[in-house]
């Protein structure tokens, strides 16, 4: 690469998508659940720019609402995964006693067949959680916790390496000599020093969380039809690919754009943190 990449592209893409799902419904106030049986299976018209589905629901409005679900899952699952990963990585990097067991745990999680396990969890636990927390909140909690709880390993490994190297630095030794306590040490000296790899992990984690949720929904084990995510819309649209290609291609393109935005943000952050590699 001749010039350094700036994270502008990724940020612009993610901001555009966020505006589409958050501000979009204000500009395009068609209810996503409103059925119009006289206008079923329509192509692009002025009333429905992206057409309608088999119940006459407006695809544009459904995409806006679906994106809220997809992006919210990506964000919350990423926050969970990064918090877990940071806690485990920093603990393993700082304490020699915890290092062995925590890294053993990380290796164990890395060996789990994740997609099958997430499918099992989503299939078997959906009904009881829906009873306890209501159908929407229960499903959202189940999917974000399942995805976030199985996506922290990469972050933990990278941060452990960073923290181990950091512990040898003179300023950390000096801080320890004057008796800085562990919480303050982490907050004041360690977290700021590992902010760059943390940011990279967060951006890449968001991309993989969005893709994982889409995969679950696409296989029919994710969100329900009344609360469609982009993956669910793609799942509903795929059988009609011959007659109404837009119904599958639009949500698919939006998932890809969201993942692309997050990965290129992550890549650009990495290049900024380590200019030698760019």
């Amino acid at each position: 690469m001749l010039r350094r990449r700036v994270p502008l592209f990724g940020i612009a893409l993610l901001a555009g998508l966020a505006a589409f799902v958050l501000i979009g419904p204000l500009i395009w106030p068609v209810a996503p659940t409103q059925m119009d049986l006289l206008a079923r299976n329509q192509g692009a018209t002025w009333a429905h720019p992206l057409g309608t589905d088999q119940l006459g629901r407006d695809l544009m409005a459904r995409l806006m609402v679906g994106g809220r679900v997809s992006l919210a899952v990506g964000l919350v699952a990423m926050l969970l995964a990064v918090s877990f990963g940071t806690a485990i990585g920093v603990a393993a990097g700082m304490s020699r006693r915890l290092d062995g067991p925590l890294m053993r745990l990380t290796d164990l999680f890395l060996a789990l067949p994740l997609l099958p396990l997430l499918l099992i969890a989503a299939a078997l636990f959906r009904a009881p959680l829906a009873v306890r927390f209501g159908p929407e909140a229960g499903l959202f909690a189940l999917i974000t916790i399942a995805i976030g709880g199985t996506a922290w390993m990469g972050t933990a490994r990278i941060l452990r390496g960073e923290v181990r190297a950091l512990m040898q630095r003179d300023y950390i030794r000096a801080a320890r000599t004057i008796g800085t306590r562990a919480p303050q040490m982490i907050w004041r000296h360690i977290l700021p020093a590992i902010a760059a790899p943390l940011g990279v992990s967060a951006a890449l984690g968001m991309a993989s969380a969005i893709l994982m949720e889409s995969a679950l929904s696409f296989l029919g084990f994710g969100f329900a039809p009344d609360m469609p995510s982009w993956g669910r819309l793609l799942y509903e649209g795929t059988p009609h690919l011959g007659a109404y290609p837009g119904r599958a291609l639009w949500p698919g393109a939006l998932i890809t754009l969201a993942a692309l935005g997050a990965t290129s943000l992550g890549d650009a952050l990495r290049d900024m943190a380590d200019p030698r590699r760019a």
């Binding site: 099992i120 078997l124 991309a207 690919l241 290609p245 698919g252 692309l260």
Partner: protein, 331 residues
């Protein structure tokens, strides 16, 4: 080196035990009764007999032990012909009442043909593309390769599949939209039909593999080409081909090999998605249909077998690295 290999080998069995226990516990703690959909007019004693017939009579630890015994001793024994079929209870599917291993054996060839060959094609393409783009850094092929690698991580297989089906199967009608698993290759015509129906699923899967591995291969190759021993080889007047394929390739493979080995079991994850799009009745589809039908023995066995594949791939890459990198042999 030997002690390192032995230590990794010794870790394998406990890891597999813990993973299989986690999978069993997940299925066990899941609420929902396999008998819940049966009519309530069935008398309690008949119901109890039916539960016993499904193998649900015993407490959970006994059932886990039983399943483990069947998985480790009975099934390999039957496969090798040591244990006679019919003497000992096998792992039975709740749906078909037949042995789970028979179901898997029926499905595995389709998965291996489509998903396995896609992985091999993807890896070879990635190594080639990595070498080419590192050789001519900044050239058109390098830019294409890096572009593909950047897209590949973000392109989900279900979207590439939808686009490819729309363009090549629906608009151009070059390939069928659905994989016909009843097709038997008997002559040139059926061979051509088989190739046509394999083309799209293999493209979808190998595109993803290529994109993910090219990135590592290019970086490793660039790193190696900057080393001094390559400069020495150039100064000796070796041919460029020899430098690239003999001197640089082997060293560049060191960081890439673990990526390839660890990606191999992920083909089963890819299989789940790709098989459900194209209707290939392989192992991935078996998992999805069994999960929808609540056929837990099949789900449990397939998931554990995927975990075994992941752990073995890890082990294989650990054992193969010292062979590739002599510096690791003394460590």
């Amino acid at each position: 080196m030997r002690s390192h290999a032995l230590r990794r080998l010794a870790m394998t069995i406990p890891t597999l035990l813990v993973i299989s226990a986690i999978i069993f516990a997940l299925l066990e703690f899941a609420p929902g009764d396999p008998m819940a959909q049966l009519p309530s007019t069935i008398p309690p004693d008949v119901r109890a007999e039916m539960r016993a017939a499904l193998g649900l009579g015993q407490p959970a630890p006994v059932r886990y032990g039983m399943w483990l015994w069947q998985m480790v001793v009975v099934e390999p024994g039957i496969a090798l012909g040591i244990v006679a079929d019919g003497d000992t209870p096998r792992i039975l599917s709740w749906q078909t009442r037949g042995p789970v291993m028979t179901l898997i054996a029926q499905r595995l060839p389709q998965t291996m043909i489509v998903v396995g060959s896609a992985y091999i094609i993807g890896v070879i393409a990635a190594i080639g593309l990595g070498i080419l783009s590192a050789r001519r850094q900044g050239s058109a092929i390098d830019r294409a390769g890096t572009g593909l690698a950047a897209m590949g991580y973000a392109l989900p297989p279900f979207f590439t599949a939808a686009v490819l089906i729309y363009v090549f199967a629906i608009q151009l009608e070059w390939a069928p939209t659905i994989y016909d698993t009843t097709l038997h290759v008997t002559g040139w015509n059926s061979f051509a039909a088989q190739m046509r129906q394999m083309a799209l699923p293999i493209t979808v899967l190998s595109l993803q593999t290529t994109a993910q591995i090219t990135r590592y291969m290019r970086a490793a190759m660039l790193d190696t080409l900057g080393q001094e021993y390559i400069l020495a080889a150039r100064a000796k007047g070796l041919r460029e081909r020899t430098i690239l394929m003999v001197h640089a390739l082997r060293n560049s493979m060191i960081p890439v090999l673990p990526v390839i080995a660890l990606g191999a079991p992920q083909i089963f994850a890819g299989a789940i998605i790709t098989e459900s799009i194209f209707g290939v009745n392989g192992v991935g589809q078996l998992l999805i249909t069994s999960l929808s039908a609540g056929d837990l023995p099949v789900v449990q066995t397939v998931t554990v077998l995927i975990a075994v594949a992941i752990v073995l791939a890890n082990l294989a890459s650990d054992l193969a690295l010292p062979w590739l990198d002599p510096r690791l042999r003394d460590a």
